[in-house]
């Protein structure tokens, strides 16, 4: 197998939320703990999980918004966090771009759309003058906006249109890898389909690689080739999409899939649901052993003391004592 485009190795990110008088950490949120996965060039890896499971932290660490506490992220075999602070830093930043969740908060309200989309061109010195203007017009056209939108401000646009501006900005730098952090969860249903179709068209046209973070498993199934499921800062399961949805191995994935409502009353009434009891434990004080053991319907003694490792089963990976034996 060739080198993957992105390789995440034992990535951990802890946040210190309280310190003692001497400045030593007193409380630490283990947002991401020992997470490893790869993203092949040209594929879409879906990253799913519930609120607070660390999926956005993974996304933000990949683009360099956070420095990892431990572990590394390799882009074509090269450690990006070391590269970001080196002389070639901008070369790497340019190739890894991000689309944010909230199209209202992620655009500067005082800049015109043209300047927002043009900013990456300025920073990376990609185009100036007339060429810069043409590139901006081209990018706006690519995401389905028209040239006259360039002189307008973000507040004049709807949520879906703003998300298109965010996509144009990410494309401006000419990236290879796009991290999409819940790009559609703030949008209405009919607009979500527009943005997802746009992202898929752009992927075909530019050969982009996506990490698509979402909590909507139906949409993840639609857009991804492989899916990684996170729970409380760790990976529960990574598998090709059809295998994961047809035969989820991890009890958490099974519960998650059965909890998703299907827009068809005939199917809904015939389904058996695995309803998980209780809530997700606090990442400030995660349970020992498998993180899922407090809610797992099939937990046994070993789950409460030994952390399951993410082991390969063919082309899929599972972190569960039941499956791994």
């Amino acid at each position: 197998m060739s080198t993957p485009l992105i390789e995440v190795k034992n990535l951990s990110k802890f946040f210190v939320t309280a310190r003692t008088m001497l400045g030593r950490p007193r409380a630490t949120v283990k947002a991401v703990e020992d997470v490893s996965f790869t993203v092949e060039a040209g594929e879409t890896l879906g990253l799913v999980g519930e609120t607070g499971c660390g999926k956005s932290t993974v996304a933000r660490t990949l683009v360099g918004l956070y420095k990892p506490t431990a572990g590394e992220v390799l882009f074509r075999g090269k450690d990006v966090h070391a590269a970001f602070s080196g002389p070639e830093g901008n070369q790497y930043r340019r190739r890894i771009q991000m689309i944010f969740q909230d199209p209202y908060a992620s655009l500067n309200p005082r800049m015109t759309v043209g300047d927002i989309v043009g900013e990456p061109l300025d920073i990376h010195g990609l185009a100036a003058g007339n060429e810069r203007r043409e590139r901006i017009m081209h990018l706006l056209g690519q995401v389905g906006l028209s040239p006259e939108h360039a002189s307008r401000f973000p507040h004049e646009f709807s949520g879906g249109q703003r998300q298109r501006v965010g996509i144009a900005r990410a494309l401006a730098a000419g990236p290879e890898f796009l991290v999409c952090d819940e790009p559609i969860s703030a949008l209405d249903v009919s607009i979500q389909a527009q943005v997802v179709n746009l992202l898929q068209d752009l992927q075909t046209e530019y050969g982009l690689t996506y990490l698509f973070v979402a909590h909507d498993l139906s949409m993840i199934k639609h857009i991804s080739r492989r899916v990684a499921v996170m729970y409380l800062g760790t990976l529960a399961e990574v598998a090709p999409v059809d295998e994961l949805y047809a035969n989820p191995l991890h009890p958490y994935t099974q519960a998650l899939l059965s909890a998703i409502p299907i827009p068809d009353p005939l199917v809904e009434n015939g389904r058996r649901r695995i309803v998980l009891h209780g809530d997700v434990p606090s990442p400030l004080n995660p349970p020992p052993g498998c993180k899922f053991n407090t809610r797992c319907p099939r937990a046994f003694d070993r789950c409460r003391c030994e952390i399951p490792r993410l082991l390969a089963h063919g082309d899929r990976f599972v972190a569960c004592h039941l499956v791994n034996g």
């Binding site: 609120t51 249903v189 009919s190 139906s218 059965s258 409502p261 005939l266 058996r272 997700v280």
Partner: protein, 338 residues
């Protein structure tokens, strides 16, 4: 049988600096006791305003119920004064809001907020009220309810807070529970718990539920009848099975086609192009026609609600008996028995 609730030609306007927003334009529906009614639509279609007006919660000014009646047990809610509304709210009709964090008071304990309705509506003593509150928390499945009474909302998780909201709403055993996007702020596994709970309460207590949601999946699993709203109007009303199997309005068809299904093969999503209309100046004809693939010249005139099957109505000219074109049939997936 006389319906429990009947809304007739309800029209709500908001007077703003930019002009008059026609949030709801002549909405009519009825609801029977014990029924679960779903209202679906996108942001700004008027579903939350409809719900708020049922409890007299439209801020006036800038809002105004410009026309119509809301008949509950023979009385018109739209014409009630504040005193009568206070008797109604939380007692006969109650509401669960979308965001449990902002709708609970952060500086009062859960117990204080939960006992309030018993002490105001039923004039119970504090000890009796606390006892009832514990029973309510137990009903909605909160473990160790006695401990929770003394805690503040920030000490509870999102799902737990929503359960407290439901307990508060059900405390007086209301005839109607309005749930405004009750699971939107929650994760899917917690959402499944809350939906199960609402189903259980409906069958055990006979509480009628109005579920407002944009999630077609949640509506499919919980509701018996569904209203689809668009630009302040009801565009389709149907029993849940008929709506999903044989939608009779292009907007409903578009909505159903634009969500990927967990149990279906992948194909390109069919999106509805364009944006919902500006309710400051809604188009004179069919509000959906600018985005509609099947728009005809007659769509420049506002369509009435046409009958489109048993108990099924659609606001689309394609249902006119003289219309030469027919409604596209959706490819319905064969369902293997579960």
């Amino acid at each position: 049988m006389q319906p429990l609730l009947s809304v007739e030609n309800l029209t709500v306007k908001f007077h703003t600096y930019a002009g008059t927003v026609q949030a709801i334009r002549s909405v009519s529906f009825t609801m029977n006791a014990g029924e679960i009614l779903g209202i679906v639509g996108e942001s700004g279609c008027g579903k939350s305003v409809t719900a708020s007006s049922l409890l007299g919660l439209i801020p006036t000014p800038p809002g105004e119920i410009a026309a119509g009646r809301i008949l509950f047990a023979g009385e018109d809610i739209a014409g009630m004064d504040e005193k009568a509304l206070c008797k109604l709210r939380g007692n006969a009709i109650s509401m669960i809001f979308q965001d449990p964090m902002t709708s609970l008071n952060p500086v009062l304990t859960v117990g204080r907020q939960l006992t309030e309705c018993f002490t105001t509506h039923q004039k119970l003593s504090r000890a009796e009220a606390a006892e009832r509150a514990v029973a309510m928390l137990r009903l909605v499945g909160i473990p160790a309810p006695e401990v929770r009474l003394g805690q503040y909302p920030h000490q509870l998780s999102g799902g737990m807070r929503q359960r407290v909201m439901i307990a508060m709403a059900l405390a007086m055993n209301p005839r109607i529970l309005i749930a405004d996007e009750p699971t939107t702020a929650l994760d899917v596994t917690i959402q499944a718990q809350i939906i199960d709970l609402m189903k259980k309460l409906n069958s055990e207590l006979g509480t009628a539920i109005i579920l407002i949601s944009h999630d077609l999946g949640v509506v499919a699993g919980l509701c018996e009848r569904v209203l689809v709203m668009y630009a302040g109007q009801v565009v389709e009303a149907a029993p849940v099975a008929a709506l999903y199997a044989r939608p009779r309005h292009p907007y409903t068809i578009g909505l159903l086609d634009s969500v990927p299904r967990l149990d279906a093969a992948r194909s390109r999503l069919t999106s509805i192009e364009g944006q919902p209309p500006d309710l400051l100046a809604p188009p004179p004809g069919c509000a959906f026609s600018p985005r509609c693939r099947y728009a005809m010249r007659v769509c420049e005139q506002a369509p009435p609600l046409f009958p489109a099957g048993e108990n099924h109505h659609s606001r689309c000219w394609l249902n006119h008996p003289a219309c030469p074109r027919t409604m596209p049939e959706r490819a319905v997936k064969e369902v293997p028995p579960a």
